[in-house]
Amino acid sequence: MTQIDIHKGAEAESPYVPKMARILSAEQMTETERFFRIEMEEAPLAYQPGQFVGVTVFGVGEAPISICSSPTQGDAFELTVRSVGLVTNKLKEFGEGDRLGIRGPFGNTFPYEEMKGKDVLFVAGGLGLAPTRSLIRYVLDNRGDYHKVTILVGARDPSLLLFRDELEAWTGRDDVETLVTVDRPDKAWSGNVGVITRLFAKIQLDAAATYAVIVGPPVMFKFTVLEALAEGVPENRIICSLERHMKCGVGKCGHCQIRGVYVCREGPVFTYEQVKRLREGI
């Protein structure tokens, strides 16, 4: 049984007070996704790939957002926000110099240490590229530590593709295989067409030596996992990042629970093996 020291806890700092941060730059990436580069006003954010922060727009509310940059990129950090509701729509109006509240970082991290020396396969659908990019950048910045790196990216149509410049840069690299596909091409699109699982046919996988990092909407996740399993990637090396309703980020408010697991603390990164056991995971 956990022993609790009430009096010590009473003196603790409140985990619910945001710290002030300033937007260094902001850019509308697609119609609904906005990219921010942010700097904490006091101590820099100490985070690792896979974690997320709570972003406060004062007077409006807070939303959990994955950090899409890698700590290797310096003190500032980056977010990609899709406008869907109260906070995220308001963020559309935010730009350089505007101030936000930030809590966190929260959550566990991608197992980037454990993955060293292994092949890494990234599969990112839609907004799933945001959290994935954090690890991609980390791996690319420590390229020597990892074996083969493959990046598969899918979007519904070309206008929804995130980080297009970076996708191009990665495509141009010899030490990374990058494939991009869209479900519905437009006239200018000359690349792959079709759901992301179709890209599996185009790559060589050493399944036993691979970590597959799969992040995307629930349907995409479901089928990509099946594909990876079919290729022979072990369940405990299929890594995903889950989204849940969250209010506190510190394992109290109860919203993010999947069965007995608090996604905000024990996740958002899980192996497929864990998710499968949870049953309500996907």
């Binding site: 009430i6 409140s14 619910y16 004062f58 109290k252």
Partner: protein, 349 residues
């Protein structure tokens, strides 16, 4: 400290003494039933008059929990200009909760663990640390919905500073902590005599014989019984009647899920981030942007509550997630009973 006794007639004086230093909350008469005036309803409230305290109370809708963990609690205040300067709002005042039944004391111990573990929550803990808990032992079940004996909350090991046992003309007073011993100092107590001790013993025996087990298995098997029922059709059958009104959660002494809103001050100069009780039975509890709802079905929400109470909280904190007080059953207009559900699932797969 040796057990002591307080004459019933001296109780009010003690309560007044406590009221001089601290906010004292306890059970008082709330109202009588419109359909049956002999049916008294009680509530936990801050005492304005020591004479209002009713040690013979039976049930309350909300327990003493709301003094430690108020239905609405302000967390952070900020301004709505260029310098929001967010500041924590941590409010507490010396308080005594007087007359906490064993089930509620057990529940408080569970809440302490939930809010204190990992990353501590000072908004709860600061109130908790400033609150003395005076327990009140019960001689018989409050209601047919209670199953505190099964849930192991009838004999709490912690969650109180003093335990009172009313026995006729005297009240047996046992201080369990330093704070408790300090509180008792202002009471006109005398050391318990051999007769008092015997009376106490008799009370305990009678108490034991008044309570009966209601589950057909021991508490330690509950998590497994639940796990085996995960795919049972029973959830669907029970949930058909569920209104998703959340009354079960809002009244539960161990529920602690919450929602947060940013409330703008009336003069629009600032805002306050406020949390309020939330309920996993409400439609939108697990809904995320884009409309995906991870527990869309009433049955999956109902199952989640029953699992959380009987399994998850226990696994997370090592303390029971349900103290068997029966509040949720009584609060439920559809008469959905956690006790009956736990009985029912033992016989299903």
């Amino acid at each position: 400290m040796l057990p002591q006794v307080l004459k019933r007639n001296d109780l009010a004086a003690w309560v007044e003494a406590l009221m001089a230093d601290r906010t004292v909350a306890g059970p008082v008469l709330k109202e009588t039933n419109v359909s049956d005036p002999s049916d008294e309803k009680f509530e936990w409230t801050v005492l304005e008059d020591a004479g209002d305290l009713r040690l013979d109370y039976n049930l309350t809708v909300l327990g003493p929990k709301s003094f430690l963990w108020p239905p609405r609690q302000q967390l952070v205040a900020y301004r709505l200009d260029d310098g929001p300067d967010p500041q924590p709002l941590i409010e507490h005042e010396p308080t005594v909760l007087l007359g906490v039944h064993p089930c509620d004391a057990t529940a408080i111990a569970t809440l302490d663990t939930a809010f204190g573990k990992d990353i501590p929550d000072p908004h709860y803990l600061a109130r908790r640390a400033d609150t003395a808990i005076v327990g009140l032992d019960c001689a018989a079940p409050c209601h047919e919905s209670s199953f505190c004996l099964d849930m192991g909350s009838l004999y709490p090991d912690s969650g109180f500073d003093v335990m009172l046992t009313p026995m006729g003309e005297v009240i047996f007073v046992e201080a369990a902590t330093d704070l408790g011993r300090a509180l008792v100092k202002s009471a006109a107590v005398r050391p318990a005599t051999k007769d008092d001790m015997e009376a106490r013993q008799k009370f305990a025996e009678e108490k034991r014989s008044n309570f009966h087990y209601k589950l057909p298995y021991e508490l330690k098997y509950l998590p497994e019984v639940l796990e085996q029922s995960y795919d049972s059709l029973v959830w669907e059958a029970i949930a058909r009647r569920c209104f998703s009104c959340g009354s079960c959660n809002t009244t539960c002494p161990t529920c602690y899920c919450w929602d947060v809103t940013d409330d703008i001050a009336d003069d629009l100069s600032g805002g306050v981030r406020t949390r309020r009780y939330d309920s996993c039975q409400l439609d939108t509890f697990a809904e995320v942007a884009g409309g995906e709802n991870f527990r869309e079905e009433r049955s999956s929400r109902l199952r989640h509550r029953m699992f959380r109470k009987g399994k998850y909280i226990l696994e997370q904190t090592g303390r029971v997630g349900c103290v068997g007080c029966g509040r949720c059953e009584r609060a439920c207009v559809a008469k959905i009973s956690i006790k009956d559900t736990y009985v029912q699932i033992a016989g299903t797969r």
